[in-house]
Symmetry: C2
Subunit: 236 residues, 2 copies
């Protein structure tokens, strides 16, 4: 999704190009989206301070839209405010990671169960993502595997056809973004069959219970590499 909307109109569309939806993206929204993908890709380390004016200078915009973008991510808990009011990349606590996993168990499980209504083509696309993941595992390209794993889960979630649930789950993934690059620090799990495969098979057979259970197992048993990068539960 890099450079999703170019400013210059492109040529060679089938539809008459004058009916193309006009995307009038504000500066604050563009900064928001760029920061969010940076977070999701693990390009922002925990405890990094995002100071307002240096940031707006880097983005080439003024302080007002920059502040809007930062505060929006703060409101989504993808970023946080320290005691001074500065925006920082938050460091996840153990409690929070466990809670996020529990919530994902419920929501992604429900989405997977609802996703049995997907078309064969949609399930094929999901399988294609998993095939790429397997390739990355084989070639030890873990950085790409992490992003593909995220894409797999979010794609599955979207197949559930529940937009509100999907947005919630996406927020949870963004919150985990800064530590997500350590997903495979424990090595590649060698479960057989891989939970992703069980999910895909369950979808193909229209077995909603199996799909839900497979997702839950994937969430509960996976991600052990993350625990080394969370704070101990904050006092209390």
């Amino acid at each position: 999704m890099s450079s999703a909307s170019a400013s210059e109109p492109e040529t060679g569309e089938i539809l008459p190009d004058w009916v193309r939806p006009i995307v009038k993206e504000s500066l604050s929204e563009r900064a928001y989206r760029e920061l969010r993908v940076a977070l999701m890709r693990g390009q922002l380390r925990p405890d990094t301070r995002l100071r307002l004016r240096p940031m707006s200078a880097r983005f080439g915009i003024s302080a007002t839209p920059m502040r809007e973008a930062l505060l929006r991510l703060v409101s989504e808990k993808a970023l946080a405010l320290d005691a001074r009011g500065s925006v920082v990349v938050p460091r996840l606590a153990l409690d929070q990671l466990l809670e996020i996993r529990a919530i994902r168990t419920d929501l992604e499980g429900r989405a997977a169960a609802a996703a049995i209504a997907s078309t064969a083509a949609e399930i094929d696309a999901l399988e294609a993502i998993h095939a790429q993941i397997s390739q990355c595992h084989a070639s030890r390209d873990f950085a790409r595997a992490v992003n593909l794993n995220t894409e797999f889960h979010l794609s599955l979630c979207r197949l559930g056809g529940m937009p509100i649930l999907y947005e919630i789950v996406k927020l949870l993934w963004v919150r985990c973004g800064p530590i997500l690059s350590h997903l495979y620090d424990d090595g590649v799990p060698d479960w057989e069959p891989h939970p992703h495969r069980r999910i895909i098979d369950a979808l193909r057979h229209g077995d909603s219970d199996a799909a839900r259970d497979a997702v839950r197992e994937d969430i509960e048993r996976g991600g052990s590499g993350l625990f080394a990068h969370v704070r101990a539960s904050p006092a209390g």
Copy 2:
């Protein structure tokens, strides 16, 4: 409302109470909170336009913090942007209401199951809220009953001890705020025993399954009065 800020631990605080943290609330945060309680109380009707400058004049602040407050609520989907970019109170679609109920079933159910760890005093407080609700039903004070019902669900949710889940559920309730005043349009359900009572009893007996089931039934069977105030599903 008594549930405004995150309640400090009432008991067992070591520091003297005069060292309580100084809350330095910014103008935008104050406006945000006031707008949110207005939404949750149903004081803002769907399709109401919240224009920037008139709003900031009403709040006695400038456009910048007012815009931050409005955009924050937009980011939470408690408000929306129309085609012009104006902030409006969104009108819930049937799909969305059903989806929110499904998500609440999962999350509030999990919170209720976790809430069996609550103290007797906490459960007493929950029961006190339900007693007030019963009183309001008897005296036909539906406006207050609606707010108390919200407070019951959110209090139960908070007892689950899962802050992230609690925040998500609260967002879902805020999104329903504008139509929540019609909760009893169908009349007062006369289930016996009331699901709230089954929840309380289950918590007292430490029966997490029963607590979860009771909450789910409360969500699934209740709120029928809301359906008359949602849009038909948008094209699809």
